[in-house]
């Protein structure tokens, strides 16, 4: 017996995410042109950036949920916040590792202390601390409140970290907005590259929504189990 039937829309979304990912992957492999100075490794860029942006979206959603949790005190927002943090951490970690793999042949190093890399790493640390904070608290209401405060504090410091490291020079290619043309590994996107890029972005956005919905349902299920167990224990006493 399933606790609650998976909604039709969610199953549809799962298939849509799979389809979109497969399409984007096919575009990356077969349609997108090769970049001449970097070779085929440049193709990782499409998924790398999409995963990073989707990860940021996760942290952003978590912050909004945290603010809502502090305002309303509803535990639903706590579940929503945790879902955002977890998915954000996973996607951001994948972004960091894939970026590292890209950097090895292009920058000739696995890692540099440039603003984006460093900020991404510090973000992982902040949200790891968020998870540790949660695991140290048993009372659901208090956990929701304290975790929400930390999520807000952490998210405030992220842009500050970014800009403070940016004051040092960066060698990371700036893809959107102004570009420092001396930056190593920079390339101009031609139209077919842009098509591939935006379809990857769309695929990861759909993937994010599907994952988020699943994680939110899981969180609710976990909350229900904890509630029922607490009620049973009280009865037993």
């Amino acid at each position: 017996m399933k606790p609650e039937k998976t909604p039709r829309a969610l199953i549809f979304l799962d298939f849509l995410a799979l389809l979109a990912l497969a399409t984007a992957f096919a575009l990356v492999i077969f349609y997108a042109p090769f970049e001449l100075t970097m070779g085929s490794v440049q193709k990782v860029f499409y998924f790398h950036v999409a995963a990073g942006l989707a990860g940021m979206l996760g942290f952003f959603v978590a912050t909004i949920a945290a603010v809502a949790c502090l305002k309303t005190g509803s535990l639903k927002w706590d579940v929503a916040g945790l879902a955002g943090v977890e998915i954000g951490m996973v996607l951001m970690a994948l972004c960091i590792v894939s970026g590292s793999i890209w950097a090895r042949p292009v920058w000739n190093t696995w890692w540099t202390w440039d603003p984006r890399l460093t900020t991404a790493l510090i973000m992982e640390l902040i949200y790891a601390a968020y998870l540790l904070l949660r695991s140290g608290l048993d009372d659901a209401r208090r956990r929701a409140k304290l975790a929400a405060v930390y999520a807000v504090v952490g998210f405030i410091s992220v842009p500050l970290t970014f800009f403070s490291i940016r004051v040092f020079r960066t060698i990371h290619p700036v893809m959107i907005g102004s570009a420092d043309s001396s930056a190593n590994g920079l390339f101009a996107m031609n139209p077919s590259m842009q098509t591939t890029f935006f379809s990857s972005l769309a695929a990861f956005s759909i993937l994010f929504i599907a994952l988020y919905w699943h994680r939110y349902r899981l969180g609710n299920l976990q909350a229900e189990i904890n509630e029922r167990r607490a009620a049973l224990q009280e009865e037993g006493e």
């Binding site: 017996m1 399933k2 606790p3 990912l21 992957f25 090769f34 001449l36 100075t37 970097m38 070779g39 085929s40 490794v41 440049q42 193709k43 990782v44 998924f47 790398h48 995963a51 998915i87 996973v90 996607l91 970690a93 994948l94 590792v97 894939s98 793999i101 890209w102 090895r104 042949p105 292009v106 993937l207 994952l211 699943h214 994680r215 349902r217 899981l218 299920l221 976990q222 229900e224 189990i225 029922r228 167990r229 049973l232 009865e235 037993g236």
Partner: protein
């Protein structure tokens, strides 16, 4: 001359797609575990009810 970096490309995609796949599996297993525990709790509740009242 285009440098041959295809091994890095394969590794990169393996990390991203594999990582997402592992995460999906992780959500799935946790969901199954939760469903099992929820059922066990419901059974317990049913057993307890007649005694409690």
């Amino acid at each position: 001359m285009m440098p041959d970096t295809s091994a890095y490309m394969v590794a990169g995609f393996l990390v991203i797609i594999g990582g997402v796949a592992i995460y999906v599996l992780w959500i799935f297993t946790r969901f199954i575990n939760c469903a099992i525990r929820l059922n066990a709790l419901k059974e317990l509740e049913k057993e307890k009810k007649p005694h409690g009242e």
